[in-house]
Amino acid sequence: MDMLNVLKNESVREAFSWATSKTATNPQKGHYCSSRDILDARLEHLRKEILLSGTNEDTSYLLHAILSEICGNSFDHNLGQWHDIPGCLLTSEKLDNYFVITVADRGQGVLKTLQRVFPEITTHDEALKAAFLRHISGRAPERRGNGLKFVRKTLLEDGIDLVFTSGSARYCIFGITEEWSKAETSVPGCIAIVSFPLT
């Protein structure tokens, strides 16, 4: 599934609409994770959904780990800094041949988070590249900054696709190909779309 088709999916559009609207709207209860406890329960439920879709156990555990890292960032880096609604939205959609999972938040976004510690980073593109490629963290001097590097490495190894948007920057993995580009719609926080083929 190419990027244009991923972005057209209903669950993805719902997440984009919620994360980018100027005024806060109440998210759908079944998809909204207001706390880590709710997130953990939803991730476990989602892993079972993925297994039921015919995906093997290893991939379901890997997806659980990857989504934990992405969603964990929403909480770790935005604590006390939310624009309005805390937490993240976690939606999923099973299509004919694909499973699509979307994580969205109304947080500070990658650039603002990293700029607090690394003022030399000035653009969304630089910030996204730093987040995925360098071992740096917006919560220095804590020992952090591994999560998205692990996500990138694992997705590239295991053939799982990703579209990650923050601000005006977008990072995509399709198969083993990576692409850094400008997003059509700016996202104040972060939106990550993880998709994989059903066998």
Binding site: D40, E44, Y61, H64, A65, S68
Partner: protein, 98 residues
């Protein structure tokens, strides 16, 4: 001394949880005799993430000599295997993983 990771849960996936787990186990580590081996057993763990492991495993790796520490049952679960291999690239010592 053996730490059974499954006693902290089958899903080990956040920094706060890793930090809490280390705080909880720390008093017991004082019972370990000088030179006694510390084995960290991952049997029964379904999900391990770098966030949790960096808060729990990395400090234990830093505090122990390489011949005092052993990570066991690390190869069965894919997230345990990948997370430990990923973090080991940053550890300043080689740790036995089996």
């Amino acid at each position: 001394m053996i730490i059974e990771m499954k006693k902290f849960g089958s899903v080990l996936n956040s920094r706060p949880a890793g930090h809490e787990a280390l705080l909880a186990i720390s008093p017991h580590l004082t019972e370990k005799k000088d030179g006694e081996e510390l084995a960290i057993d991952f049997k029964g763990v379904d999900v391990l993430t770098p966030s949790f492991a960096d808060e729990f495993i990395t400090p234990l790796v830093m505090e122990h000599n390489k011949n005092e520490l052993r990570l066991t049952n690390t190869q069965k679960n894919i997230t345990v295997r990948k997370t430990l291999a990923f973090l080991a690239e940053e550890w300043d010592k080689k740790v036995v993983m089996e």
